[in-house]
Amino acid sequence: MAADAGDGVEFPILCETCLGDNPYVRMTREANGRECKVCTRPFTVFRWLPGRGMRYKKTEICPTCAKLKNVCQTCILDLEHGLPVQARDAALGIESSVPQQAGNRRDYAARTAGSLEVVSGETDFSGRADPAGREMLKRMARKGPYYKRNRAHVCSFFVRGLCTRGSECPYRHEMPEGDPELSKQNLVDRYHGNNDPVARRMLARASKRPSALAPPEDKSITTLFVMGVEGAAGQRELHDHFGAYGELKSVSVASKGACAFVNFTTRAAAEAAAHAAQAGCVVAGQALRVAWGKPRPKGPSAEASSAGAGSGSGTSGRTARIPAPPGAAGAALYPSQDPTAHGASAGSRA
């Protein structure tokens, strides 16, 4: 039957979370067990227990539909980042080519099943071509697998106070917590990335989040801290990139820590650069993370200079602070004696 989605499939397309933490997971496979919830064609259904105390999970959509969107067959979240389709597509600016009307969808899935590699290869789901979008995805995504998602569902009878099964009940006897708005989900909508309350909240939070780029209170800070300085991105490239926002005092790169300090002469220029970096900062193909620098110790500070003297010059590459020369740990008598007040920067040595 040509209409079948995924004949002779050996393993489902799953995310790490849905697979569970057990490396020896047992699965049952049922060929043409159910219809795909997206394209309504029969497909091979897998069922397994993703770890102790979890609920049984099964594949919900066919591998063709999953590959078209690069999502898990069970949770319909992106395979790489574990984010909803809507959130991912918004961050990467992906336009979907999958028809949304049921009949067209089935026809499209049947037609593309053969040339799937071509279709899914065309779209850049991982965000390799869009480092800024990739950065945004990374910010929104969880760091590791989220196994709590595999727990049993909340017992709906318990919620209504009607559960008669007591301790034998395999469902969770807890009151649902969190936003009730988030429970209004629909698999097909989530697949197409429309009207997904979770994605909507994620995107709202990502845009609202007080990022590391909010201008600090201290008006004397004119330094941006740049992380991810690797590969082709060097001091010259940073200079070219940030020089566009205003005059630079210095650019100091610490290649060991893959980071750099960009000192602007004016606060306005630094703010302009930080504002522009909010949407993502790409220099020579490298996605950089930008944050405001920490205030440097001001004026004659015995504490700062003694700390610098103690750790020696080995750590000077990481911070722009110049350690006081040995023996200068004593109290400074006048400003020129305080090395931290001097205009020299690590940039000249880096």
Binding site: R26, T28, G53, E168
Partner: protein, 149 residues
């Protein structure tokens, strides 16, 4: 030449001692009727047969105890009970084996009928289950029938 029939009367007549068992077994029979006619309203689909399985287990156990444990009835009477459906000979055969002394039903050890070729959850000793786990198997509602429990 027609076969000579043994006297049908001796076959039909219950063996000695039957009158002592009769009231109890009739009561079991009535219980089974009630279980069969019980309404399924308010039960889950798997739960509907549990009461039948329970009565079946109880009365097989009764005959098993009388014959193998207390040795209170004769072989003849035991065979008569099995033949008339008052006890399940296959289930009793399992109970006589080590490790199956408390077996709830035959379905629960039918590994061929399960997806991964395993016995039922009720066969797992309580000590091997995670702490505080309450099991109720789908076949007969058994809450654990491992012989070590």
């Amino acid at each position: 030449m027609p076969k000579v029939q043994p006297s049908r009367r001796s076959k039909l007549e219950p063996p000695e001692g039957w009158s002592d068992l009769e009231p109890t077994l009739l009561e079991f029979k009535q219980k089974m009727r009630d279980a069969e006619n019980e309404s399924a309203a308010g039960k889950r689909r798997v739960e509907t047969t549990w009461s039948v399985m329970r009565v079946h287990h109880q009365r097989s156990r009764y005959i098993y105890d009388l014959f193998y444990k207390r040795k209170a009835i004769s072989r003849k009477l035991y065979d008569y009970c099995v033949k008339n459906g008052h006890a399940d000979a296959n289930l009793i055969a399992k109970w006589r084996k080590q490790g199956f002394e408390k077996l709830c039903c035959l379905q629960c050890i039918q590994a061929r009928d399960t997806a991964h070729g395993t016995a039922c959850i009720c066969r797992v000793p309580k000590a091997k289950l995670e702490e505080g786990r309450v099991v109720e198997c789908v076949h007969c509602g058994c809450r654990g029938c491992a012989s070590t429990d």
